[in-house]
């Protein structure tokens, strides 16, 4: 017979608690749950927003109230993003750029989601967000430096409230939510936008972020860029329901589905979601429906796993073409403006490339410089050994 204890479990560490000394005031127990209500519960509807459809027709009832200037700025940002993207691809193919993820076709998602943000708002992008980062104030040469594998490219520029993009899928969504939790505590009337893909949405950490945001009523807007693919995995193998917005409803997060190739819809939905957040009404999930037109990354060959004919119909849904022809049709752009802007953007990109080429510099001697605020002695010894290796190899 081996039963018989000398002590209650935890007795040494957990004495009987004197409830009377506990701070009851802080307790705000919810009202006692009532009787079970057997009536079924309506989950409501998910709104789907499109303003300018793929045939270029504008939904008059939804005509948005943006200034012509804003519309032109947004158009140019999309054009610039695409020019940047094309140049990056060329550089990569010439061996001048590391592996990166082309953004082509997702420009409306990108620009639409950062359009409502001011400098005191925060943005936390995935790795497929060139246009958005440029809009936020990242120079193109910085982005080139980053993707070419130089550490100097990673820190967000001074004054830009962005997290560095996330390579580990979905891992940035909780920190972005944490920023919003900080804002709520500081009564800071700004908001956070964080984006991630349809694949990323399978990560448990993203679900946790939705829940934290909902509980906290944190001022964060989640943008799921549902482009149908996660490398070779189509949405049908990624998710049990293709309405990703419904997950927001599940977690008590206001949700909307948007035509991610319609910049007017994106601007409208994001503007409203950010305003809701800033007003303290809590988070929103925006499911932006779009399509990955190109390679997953430059190390990927989609012809292996998808019939490229499925890309064809999406060409006519090009977010730039659709918007540009509407701008021209409504007299906001001249018919020749498009090409003029494209040329100017191309020029800008080339200038950035030139700056990148003349400035980018590997700094192997700085490898240990940023891990801790001041380097611990043991690590300093490792650094000296590393520097001796560089000396031996004649590396500056």
């Amino acid at each position: 017979m081996a039963v018989g204890y000398t002590a209650l479990p935890m007795s040494e560490t957990e004495p009987p608690i004197d409830a009377s000394t506990q701070p009851r005031e802080a307790a705000s127990p919810p009202p006692p749950p009532g009787e079970f209500d057997p009536r079924s519960i309506d989950l409501g509807r998910v709104e789907c927003l499109q303003i300018l459809n793929e045939r270029g027709e504008l939904d008059e009832g939804l005509t948005p109230d943006f200034s012509d200037d804003d519309l032109r700025r947004v158009h140019r940002a999309m054009v610039l993003s695409r020019a940047f993207d094309a140049r990056m691809l060329a550089m990569q193919r010439q061996g001048q750029m590391g592996t990166f993820a082309p953004n082509i076709g997702q420009e409306a998602c990108m620009i639409g989601q950062v359009w409502p943000l001011g400098p005191s708002d925060w943005f936390s992008p995935s790795y497929r967000a060139f246009g958005a980062q440029i809009w936020r104030g990242w120079s193109m040469e910085r982005l080139m430096t980053l993707w070419a594998g130089y550490h100097e490219g990673f820190p967000p520029p001074e004054g830009v409230n962005d997290l560095p993009f996330s390579i580990v899928i979905g891992s940035h969504v909780l920190p972005a939510t944490g920023i919003a939790m900080g804002m709520r505590r500081a009564a800071d009337p700004h908001c956070v936008v964080v984006n991630f893909g349809d694949g990323a949405f399978s990560q448990g950490a993203v679900a946790e972020a939705l829940n934290f945001a909902a509980v906290e009523k944190a001022p964060v807007v989640f943008v799921c860029e549902n482009n149908g693919w996660a490398i070779s995995t189509p949405l049908a193998k990624q998710a049990g329901s293709d309405l990703l917005a419904a997950r927001g409803v599940g977690y008590g997060v206001h949700a909307i589905r948007v035509d991610g190739n319609d910049i007017l819809a994106m601007m409208t939905a994001m503007g409203e979601a950010c305003e809701r957040a800033r007003r303290g009404e809590g988070p929103t999930l925006v499911e932006a429906v779009t399509f990955r037109m190109s390679l997953h990354t430059t190390a990927d060959d989609p012809t292996v796993y998808r019939d490229e004919s499925i890309v064809e119909p999406w060409k006519s849904r090009c977010p730039i073409k659709r918007f540009e022809s509407w701008l021209v049709r409504t007299g906001r752009l001249d018919p020749t403006d498009g090409d003029r802007i494209r040329a100017a953007c191309e020029e800008e990109v080339l200038e950035a490339r030139a700056r990148f080429r003349s400035n980018a510099q590997a700094k192997p001697r700085e490898a240990f410089d940023h891990l801790y605020q001041s380097i611990p002695p043991e690590l300093e010894a490792q650094r000296m050994e590393y520097l001796r290796r560089l000396d031996r190899k004649g590396v500056e």
Partner: protein, 328 residues
């Protein structure tokens, strides 16, 4: 000086940190009204409000991930994980963001935050509640790892950890949460991070340990001196990352004998690292006997009916020291 248990001393450190700096906030499961399952955060929510001392949903990854975000925003979160066994749930956020975001942004976003968590065996708890996996964090670049051994250094080290600009993993030896009291002054006190402490001087053998294991080690040192005439030098690591190699070398080059005692598993544990550092450089030619590790075996912490036999005890330390003294 008031006598305090480690729980009370930690509570004091948190209270002072919250009172002294508006950016400090606490988060974790059941830390609010309940004051934490071990009462380390007792009364703090009542004093500082729900925005400073917040009950988190049951998601460790979420706790650490959002704490990182709050640190980016400029706050100084102290996140509690209810038991260290559940830090596994947050491993990705710890390794990928908490430890690396400063480096990734070249210092633009320092992550000034603390992850506190009770660790170790000895309280007859259920499975997954007695882990000592501090070696995971010691192996993870970018973190500091701190483990106190008594009320007074617990308070001083936690205070320093909260003010440290780098992310700190703070492991609390829960078996001594309330096991004894010490003088802990009312006045704020801090200890420098990264330094080991010589807890007893001696010339025959160096015994290196930390956390709750310092208790059996002290007991062994008394026995060794009184019963066997062996004078041991005790080193209390206090910091597991970085490890204060200098203090270790100074002692071992003098004694020529070394025993390392910890609750963590043996393979790739903290004892392995210390043994390697001694065998590598400064101490090699001074060693008079092999290095001895007394650690938990490489099996999961056993169910509580047999746990009292699992960890090395004072007698093991005495026996090892005597063996080393006789080694030729």
């Amino acid at each position: 000086m008031p006598q305090r248990t480690m729980v009370e001393a930690l509570n004091l450190a948190l209270d002072e940190a919250l009172g002294g700096d508006d950016q400090v906030c606490l988060m974790g499961q059941d830390i609010g009204v309940n004051g934490g399952v071990f009462r380390v955060t007792k009364d703090l929510q009542a004093k500082y409000g729900e925005d400073r001392v917040m009950d988190s949903p049951l998601a460790e990854c979420g706790i650490i991930g959002t704490a990182v975000g709050m640190a980016v925003y400029g706050m100084k979160p102290v996140a509690e994980i209810q038991f260290s066994g559940f830090t596994m749930q947050a491993f990705d956020q710890i390794e990928q963001n908490m430890a690396r975001l400063r480096n990734r942004t070249q210092g633009r976003f320092p992550i000034q935050m603390v992850m506190r968590t009770p660790y170790g065996g000895g309280i007859r708890a259920v499975e997954h509640h007695s882990e000592s996996r501090e070696a995971y964090w010691a192996h993870t670049p970018g973190l500091k790892v701190v483990i106190p051994s008594g009320p007074r250094n617990a308070r001083a080290l936690l205070a320093a950890s909260i003010q440290d600009p780098d992310p700190v993993v703070f492991y609390e030896p829960k078996s001594i949460y309330r096991a004894f009291r010490e003088d802990v002054p009312d006045e704020p006190e801090q200890m420098e991070l990264g330094k080991a402490e010589v807890a007893r001087s001696g010339s025959d053998v160096t015994i290196i340990s930390y956390g709750a294991m310092m208790r059996p080690v002290r007991e062994a040192a008394d026995d060794l001196a009184e019963l066997h005439g062996i004078e041991s030098e005790l080193i209390d690591l206090l910091s597991i990352s970085p490890i204060d190699t200098d203090t270790l070398l100074t002692s071992v080059t003098r004694t020529g004998r070394c025993i390392i005692v910890h609750e963590g598993h043996q393979t790739c544990g903290v004892g392995a690292e210390i043994a390697a550092r001694l065998a590598e450089g400064g101490a090699f030619q001074y060693l008079l006997a092999p290095i001895r590790r007394l650690t938990a075996a490489d099996i999961p912490f056993p169910y509580f009916q047999i746990e009292q036999h699992f960890l090395p005890d004072a007698d093991d330390v005495v026996a090892a020291a005597r063996e080393l003294m006789e080694w030729t």
